[in-house]
Amino acid sequence: MKLTPLPEVSDRGFLFSYEEGKKMENIWSVVLIWTLLALLSSLISIRIGVSVALVEILVGSLGGNLLGLHAADWINVLAAIGSVVLTFLAGAEIDPHVFKRQWKESLFIGFVSFLVPFLGTMAYAYWVAHWSPEASKIAGIALSTTSVAVVYAVLVERGYNNTELGKLILSACFITDLGTVVVLGLLFANYDRWLLIFVISTGAALYFIPRMTPWIFERVGSHISEPESKYILFLLFALGAIAALAKSEAVLPAYLIGMVLAPVFLANRTLAHRLRMMTFTLLTPFYFLKAGALINFRFAMAGAGLILMLLGVKVAAKFFGVYPLTHTFRFGPRKGMYTTLLMSTGLTFGTISSLYGLSHGLINQGQYTILVTVVILSAVVPTLIAERWFAPHSAPLSETNVEETMAVSGSESSLKGGDSHVSKDTGSK
């Protein structure tokens, strides 16, 4: 008589069953490829001095088109968390003091910088490109953004980050992004009781969280088990879950919570540093690689004309919206043009909006490809034009004393020491 072991018995001899083992093997292979691409992106980014996010998108697009890279479910989860935490950090990097000084100008320029491109690109997508109303709304949102990070790097290199002009531009960028996030969060929501619950809970969170958080942080303190970071993640996911029930978007409460917690983060730089490290290492690489992998080169080639037109419409809309206001606030033509071009840049919220549209079936992959390509070009082209032809003359050289140059975040350590000199803001008002 032949004895055959029962499957259950033989399975018990291993850590995983055969099927489970196969799955694990696949997971590790997938992790290996994505991690390799993330590492490659980091190395390229360091070598060429271009942001790792942009390189990840480009590497992801090569992976998607040449290697057939696609996101598994668990990668989608990591990518979604990455976009939410990245949005939270974007809100938390605001210095409220910058707003207080020039709130009127910031508010006007920032709001118009959102509204005119939103309406302009949406109208173009709907009436000229004949996209569906929903796809046109996504186009409007994705191309209304301004990249605070792109603008900040340019201002630092030009020595404008400490000037009134630089601070005004930065705070206006935050307002523009706020407009984008609010519209993305509310335009596609279901207007039912869940939205009401979402609005009430977000409102309550915005009121209580800034009051509770310092108290909680004081009690739990900094620890290797990261209770502070977990508390932040808990808040983001709780509000994200309610946002999803209302068919809204988790990035809306994330940005708002970031804004109200900005003073806490200004006071606690190590927490900001730890959250960034976690996000840039484990979350955003999956998000940006995925965003790139979904770009289809065939659609990009076929839609090259539309890509150029949408980029032109975005920049033109920013010009019609922002440039007259710079005159009203007496910037002068050169600085006005410089400001307008910098406010035409976009990256993070543009890709977040496009990915939202694709994942919710509001746009197809061709439209996604076109929008993300325009977003990438809008990060690069207006910056190059601004730097090459419209950089204000005799840029003030402000020294990199971190306490001053990081006025936006008010964070990090000071470079002061010995006889280090710090130039005063020479102002370019």
């Binding site: 942001s51 990097e93 630092v156 290199e157 840039f280 990256l347 840029a395 004393n401 990090e412 350590s413």
Partner: protein, 140 residues
């Protein structure tokens, strides 16, 4: 002859040699001695402000260490070194700083680039020598 001397310090071995020469000249001419370091590797087209802030912070930590070493070197010769760290393009920033602060002498290290790069773009030391508003000493 020289009242204000500026040494370019990127933390390299070449820059160290330039600093030693600058200290020697400052001592000889009883000149005011400054050094400048330029952060030129801030990430372009960043997706988050944090990425730029972290890069800036890393660069600052690096230059803080290098400037402390430079100040100790000057102090050994009885001199006070005024250090400056700025962000921007290396050549443009040093030239603008030298112009704005009326330096008499710019002391730089000879920085070797690849031959192809050097032929097409010109090396940093070549460009600094060409564009500087004051006398330039290239230390090899």
């Amino acid at each position: 002859m020289f009242r204000k001397i500026l040494a370019a310090n990127d933390g390299s071995e070449g820059a160290r040699k330039a600093l030693i020469a600058a200290i020697d000249l400052a001592k000889k001419y009883r000149a005011e001695l400054h050094s400048i370091s330029v952060e030129e590797h801030l990430p372009h087209y960043a997706a988050s402000l944090g990425e730029v802030l972290e890069a800036q912070s890393e660069a600052n930590d690096y230059f803080k260490k290098k400037n402390e070493e430079a100040m100790a070197l000057a102090l050994k010769e009885g001199l006070s070194l005024h250090t400056h760290v700025l962000a921007g393009h290396e050549v443009g920033t040093i030239i603008q700083f030298a112009k704005d602060n009326h330096f008499d002498l710019l002391v730089i290290g000879f920085m070797g680039h690849s031959k192809i790069f050097g032929r097409i773009w010109g090396s940093t030391s070549h460009n600094l020598t060409r564009l500087s508003p004051c006398t330039v000493l290239v230390v090899k």
